[in-house]
Symmetry: C2
């Protein structure tokens, strides 16, 4: 026998490509096309060498305090981690120990089932309606926990707050996690944050990777009742005392303080999204009503896989999921206005060439 | 019933205190008293705002390549993570799936049993000999994996390479992990790295937090056969595509390139360690032969808990473990020469006051 017999068997996830070549238009991993404010790099540059020799503040006090103030909550209602993936995986481990299945949509962020499997948590997927919307009634009782993104990915569809509340109200005995990774791109009014006062079983998860242009730093956070956040803190500290490093802690605070710049870049992304959607329609595409920083689009005649490969050859990377129900669609991140014009031109020449 | 019934039960770990007040002499978490080279902060400052908007290189290619070149290995033999805690926890998850107990010493790094419990892996602790050394014969067969630090913590004792090899040679069917967090402080000749060519079941884990003065960045790594490292990569990517952030990736490379400075600071720490040990002996302490950046010391008359509290009141933080076999000891990190002089003076006045 060899040690190889005792290795964990896994199906490796294939992340969106990070091409090394210059000149690529990268619309495949939902990054923000605009840089973070210079205050972020300034904050990082101000860290003196002797500060790096010490372990970072395990309490992440300054960042949690800044986020609490920004959202009008107490510091005890904020948990931070190494990207929202880290926060969400920890929430699975912390809250979904009932033995009953966790419910989440069949078409959703592709890591939910992965974390369930990682921690031996059973789950049940609830099919989206034909139009890709979530039916709150599917989540009424019987679960060991509930999780969905709002807006959902990769559909981009935003659920109204009233619908979100139906799910939370119907399930007081389990933790309901609303993954708001994309909420800043026009969905703020439907954010579950306004429900935090009423429901101690609600956890809202957010990230700095999309709206805050800081994918390179890995910062995510969760907001909830003090009881809920206390559980996350306890479980986290039970097996890892430090994870966020000093640049992340400092940059996170700086990012929160630059609200004017933040809102300006969001506006630009939203404007470009709406422009791109209109242009795609002219070319024969159907798009969902995405309220995120990507579009989810299918062409009436040309298969998505073919368009995906064609764009890639032209140096434009988008995302294609070869999975049931969505294999006719492309997920296209919103780049700068110039990048999206290049995308549209490229599609124009391909599509007119086929007609 | 409430959601609280389904929360994971844990015993939170209490990390070494990170006091906020100025003027504290902090000898409780084995940090390096000397800052990292300025090349590290320069590398971090050179990162442009627009680089942060993108996800970091999931392959961590530049850092893995730099570490491979430094250790004379191939890039495929290097795995990197968010501190050696992250790397070690992942190694538990990846390699210890046989159902047989993992073996590690009874007195050792306090997170080994925590990660075993986290992932539902059974384990058996092997008592150190009376003099705190590891008996290789204890690890002969029957395990689902083996793990020990060299030097061990908190004893600081270094095992000879021949003894380390005995354990690896006797257990070709399981993965043997040597946690070399402290090896740079004078233990290099006994490092298991020289055994990598002969054993594909050997994983050596290291950290930038101690010898490289970068606890604030969270960088750890593992070296092993390509087969072993490939397994770690597969499991990691199966549930988390990105974890190390851009400052860590860049700073790690810069640190590796500053070898002269690195060796100078190591020499200073080692010299101060030996000086402190002599002074402690004069004051009636017994110390293990620590080859790390801390001393493990007990006083012949005065209980460790009493000394711990007294030092704390004087603003000097050391570590005390209220656990069987080691509750007479203090673990004292090596600070600057000035800090250690202050420690010795403080102990002198306390101890002479008692006689």
């Amino acid at each position: 026998m060899s040690w190889k017999a005792n290795v964990r068997r896994v199906e490796p996830y294939i992340p969106g490509e990070q091409p090394g070549q210059k000149g690529i238009i990268k619309l495949n991993t939902n990054e923000n096309p605009y840089p973070p404010p210079t205050a972020v790099t300034e904050a990082i540059c101000r860290i003196r060498p002797e500060e790096y020799r010490l372990y970072p503040d395990p309490d992440a006090g300054a960042l949690r305090q800044a986020l609490a103030a920004y959202h009008g909550l107490g510091k005890g209602q904020v948990f931070v981690g190494v990207g929202s993936d880290d926060v969400l995986a920890l929430a699975f481990l912390t809250f979904f120990q009932s033995g009953k299945p966790v419910f989440f949509p069949d078409i959703t962020y592709s890591f939910y089932d992965v974390w369930a499997n990682l921690y031996g948590i059973c789950y049940e997927t609830k099919p989206l309606r034909e139009d890709f919307t979530i039916d709150p009634a599917d989540y009424n009782g019987g679960s060991g926990g509930i999780l969905f993104p709002n807006p959902n990915a990769p559909t981009g569809l935003l659920m109204e707050l009233g619908e979100v509340e139906k799910i939370i109200r119907a399930n007081p005995d389990v933790v309901v996690i609303v993954d708001e990774a994309y909420i800043d791109f026009g969905g703020e009014k439907e954010s579950a944050l306004s429900l935090l006062d009423g429901y101690d079983n609600l956890l809202v998860v957010r990230t700095f990777s999309k709206s805050r242009s800081l994918a390179g730093l890995r910062i995510g956070y969760a907001l909830g009742s003090e009881a809920l956040i206390g559980c996350l803190q306890d479980v986290k500290f039970s097996f890892n005392s430090y994870t966020m490093n000093l640049p992340s802690l400092r940059a996170g605070v700086a990012s929160i303080q630059e609200d004017v710049y933040f809102r300006e870049t969001l506006e630009k992304v939203i404007d470009t999204r709406e422009w791109t959607k209109k242009e795609l329609k002219k070319l024969g595409f159907e798009c969902t009503d995405s309220r995120s920083n990507f579009l989810f689009a299918r062409h009436k005649q040309i298969p998505a896989a073919e368009l995906f490969e064609g764009l890639k050859k032209a140096g434009i990377y988008v995302r294609y999921f070869n999975r049931p129900r969505i294999d006719e669609y492309l997920r296209i991140s919103i780049g700068t206005q110039e990048e999206m014009q290049a995308l549209i031109s490229c599609l124009q020449s391909r599509i007119s060439g086929q007609n």
